[in-house]
């Protein structure tokens, strides 16, 4: 039997080696996800820059942007490109998420070839903070091409694809599946450089609702009407 003392730990031999039971070191710079429970589950402790990150959605509009909000807000010093989103993005909502409207760029394409070309141009230029791309069908060679293009720079690159694509192979080192859950998201780790995890991670992501909009579960009461303010009138507080 070989004693473990004679063998140095694999991570001390080479930075790209790791044991199957531990998380890998990050080779690229990572941006904090803003959700500590999620960050602790990712190699490098955040979203890696210059890498194709595959996010597999059950359907659009389940809280995917709320999940990315802290990372995108950190990248918003440079432009954020939305390439072929499923619906028209609303600038006001994105502003509420912390992305100023002046930094948003929306690219619309008609053909799939144009979409891939535009993504490659944005990644190769390296002058944008983040690229968010929606694609339903992507062939593995075009994914590899985009992954290579992403490695040219430090752009955060998220690709949103339907959940069914989890079956297909992808060159992306980080693939997460997102499903809506009560009050948040269930994140499944399809692929990561680390131990396999079968149980999904629940992340609470509720809408920041103001109190006035939340339903009040009690019987309506007669409330005193506030006195209308008239110009040059007496202050209403004094009247009551």
């Amino acid at each position: 039997m070989i004693s473990p003392l004679n063998h140095p730990a694999p991570e001390s031999l080479h930075p790209s080696l790791w044991r199957a039971s531990q998380l890998a070191h990050a080779s690229a710079r990572c941006v904090d996800t803003g959700h500590p429970t999620l960050s602790s589950q990712l190699p490098g402790g955040g979203w890696p820059t210059g890498t194709l990150i595959d996010l597999l959605l059950q359907q659009p509009g389940i809280g995917e942007l709320r999940l990315l909000r802290p990372a995108l807000a950190a990248a918003a010093s440079r432009r954020i490109v939305l390439l072929q989103p499923p619906h028209a993005p609303q600038a006001l909502a994105l502003a509420a998420l912390g992305l100023p409207p002046s930094q948003l760029v929306w690219l619309r394409t008609t053909r799939s070839a144009d979409t891939l070309w535009a993504a490659e141009q944005v990644l190769r230029s390296g002058s944008c903070g983040a690229l968010l791309m929606w694609q339903n069908h992507a062939r593995s060679e075009s994914l590899r091409r985009l992954h290579l293009a992403a490695q040219c720079g430090e752009t955060l690159f998220f690709m949103f694809r339907p959940l069914a694509s989890a079956q297909d192979a992808s060159p992306s080192p980080l693939r997460l599946s997102l499903r809506p859950a009560a009050g948040g998201l269930d994140i499944g780790f399809v692929k990561r450089r680390g131990p396999q995890r079968d149980a999904p991670l629940f992340l609470p992501l509720s809408l920041p609702l103001t109190h006035s909009l939340l339903p009040q579960h009690h019987a309506p009461l007669d409330r005193p009407l506030s006195v209308p303010v008239t110009a040059r009138g007496v202050l209403p507080e004094l009247v009551q």
Partner: protein
């Protein structure tokens, strides 16, 4: 190619068939009936030489015309910038290939020496590069004596006295040589060996740029024009470098074949947000533009004109490159995207102060200049107060009703109290109560109930889906 009914130059294929320089037209046609015979055209030749000179002006401002269709370049000051002699020669040869010409390239410490090496060695590039003076002298001494133009009328005499190369010629007594062959032979030899200074008339770049090109064939696909256009752009680059200018707007004229009616040339206008003097960006822009262009008639000629130029901007003075590319890179990226996708598909957000959500969500082409202060005024003070969905459906979807509840995949449960939006009496009236609803899959939807006013007030309310919270 013929000059005065004699063969002047022949293609390798013709040479293999036995065609030799100096043959007559009849002889050639007997050897090769399918041969294409072309008369030499001095005007065309001069034009080609001018095109090459323009393109090479990007390496040095000192370009002069030599005898027998040669160009002399003083590259002494350019070697370090372009990475040494070898790299410079490689770049020049690549440029010549792009222009569609072939040439012999050589370099030497004296211009006349380089000229002789180029004439003697032709296209064997490795023999044509000399850097040190002593090795140049050794190389020149071995060249045949008939190479020097003033010595050619006396070739038989030189051969008779056993003077076969330039080394032998230099050993002859100078006064006798001058009396027999004239002053010019001695001058040329002295210049080649670096004993007298050389004077040239450098080619001046014209003040405006206009270049044109006749295509060999009728071109019916716009993509195929790119190669020819690259040749024109290369000339433009040389001209811009020589005059220290950067170009803002260029126009390509695609000349069509003249059929029964004359057809005006098609214009391809390329305007740049940022002036440039390198051709890579122009070539990429042109490629996207040509890919979208549909030709009405075959093209037989191509012309390029630089319409707007400005002085070249000095390079950035910052010591460290900015992380993630400069402003210039970004502008270029957007230009490229606009060229292929069209300006209506590359959009930036321009929210508009309006209560109706579909009108408030404005997007304009990226090249529109928006003032930050004006834009900030269009945003509400507290954007967190009323939640808005990140995805807005371009057309609201009417929802089914089941058990008096709106249904979208599953029955929707209202999670909030209504937010009433009632605006637009001046053009498109909207009276709606917006709710945030939750389906059984826990996804959040933005739905609204149409408020019905007037005589139909007793009808069932209609529900619509208008957005998704992402």
């Amino acid at each position: 190619m013929l000059e005065q009914e004699r063969v002047l130059a022949a293609s390798p294929l013709a040479r293999a068939a036995g065609v030799q320089v100096g043959m007559r037209r009849g002889g050639v046609l007997m050897l090769m009936p399918e041969a294409r015979l072309v008369e030499r055209d001095l005007a065309l030749e001069a034009e080609a030489q001018h095109a090459v000179a323009m393109a090479l002006l990007q390496y040095t401002p000192l370009v002069a015309q030599g005898e027998e269709s040669t160009l002399l370049l003083d590259v002494g000051a350019s070697l370090r910038l372009f990475g040494g002699v070898k790299s410079l020669c490689r770049q020049m040869r690549a440029n010549l290939r792009t222009l569609g010409f072939s040439g012999a390239l050589s370099c030497a410490p004296t211009a006349r020496g380089a000229w002789m090496l180029a004439r003697a060695h032709g296209r064997q590039a490795r023999h044509g590069r000399v850097v040190k003076m002593p090795s140049l002298v050794r190389r020149l001494d071995r060249l045949p004596s008939a190479l020097v133009p003033p010595a050619r009328p006396f070739a038989a005499w030189f051969e008779g006295i056993g003077c076969f190369n330039l080394g032998d010629m230099r050993r002859l007594p100078r006064p006798g040589l001058q009396r027999r062959c004239g002053r010019s032979l001695l001058d040329m030899l002295d210049a080649a060996y670096g004993m007298t200074p050389e004077l040239f008339e450098w080619i001046e770049a014209p003040t405006t740029f206009h270049a044109k090109l006749e295509l060999f064939d009728r071109v019916e696909h716009a993509d195929a024009l790119l190669y020819a256009a690259q040749r024109l752009l290369l000339q433009l680059t040389g001209w811009l470098c020589a005059r220290q200018l950067a170009v803002e707007r260029i126009t390509f004229y695609l000349e069509h074949e003249r059929g029964k009616v004359a057809r005006a040339p098609t214009l391809v206008d390329i305007a740049l947000a940022e002036a440039t003097w390198r051709d890579e960006h122009l070539v990429r822009l042109l490629k996207e533009r040509l890919a979208k262009l549909e030709l009405e008639a075959p093209v037989i000629g191509l012309a390029l004109e630089a319409l707007q130029v400005q002085p070249m901007a000095p390079p950035s003075e910052s010591l460290f490159p900015e992380p993630g590319g400069s402003e210039e890179d970004r502008v270029r990226m957007f230009e490229l995207l606009v060229a292929r996708l069209g300006p209506e598909n590359v959009l930036q957000a321009a929210p508009f102060a309006d209560y109706r959500p579909d009108l408030a969500n404005g997007w304009v082409p990226v090249h529109h200049v928006l003032r930050a202060s004006k834009q900030a005024a269009q945003l509400p003070d507290d954007i967190h107060f009323f939640p808005r969905p990140a995805w807005l459906l371009s057309k609201p979807i009417a929802l089914l009703m089941r058990n008096h509840r709106p249904f979208y995949g599953s029955p929707l449960k209202m999670a909030t109290t209504p937010e009433r939006i009632e605006a637009g009496w001046w053009n498109a009236m909207q009276t709606r109560d917006y709710f945030i609803a939750q389906g059984q899959d826990h996804a959040l939807y933005w739905v609204y109930r149409e408020r019905i006013l007037g005589s139909h007030a007793d009808r069932d309310p209609r529900w619509f889906l208008h957005g998704l919270f992402a």
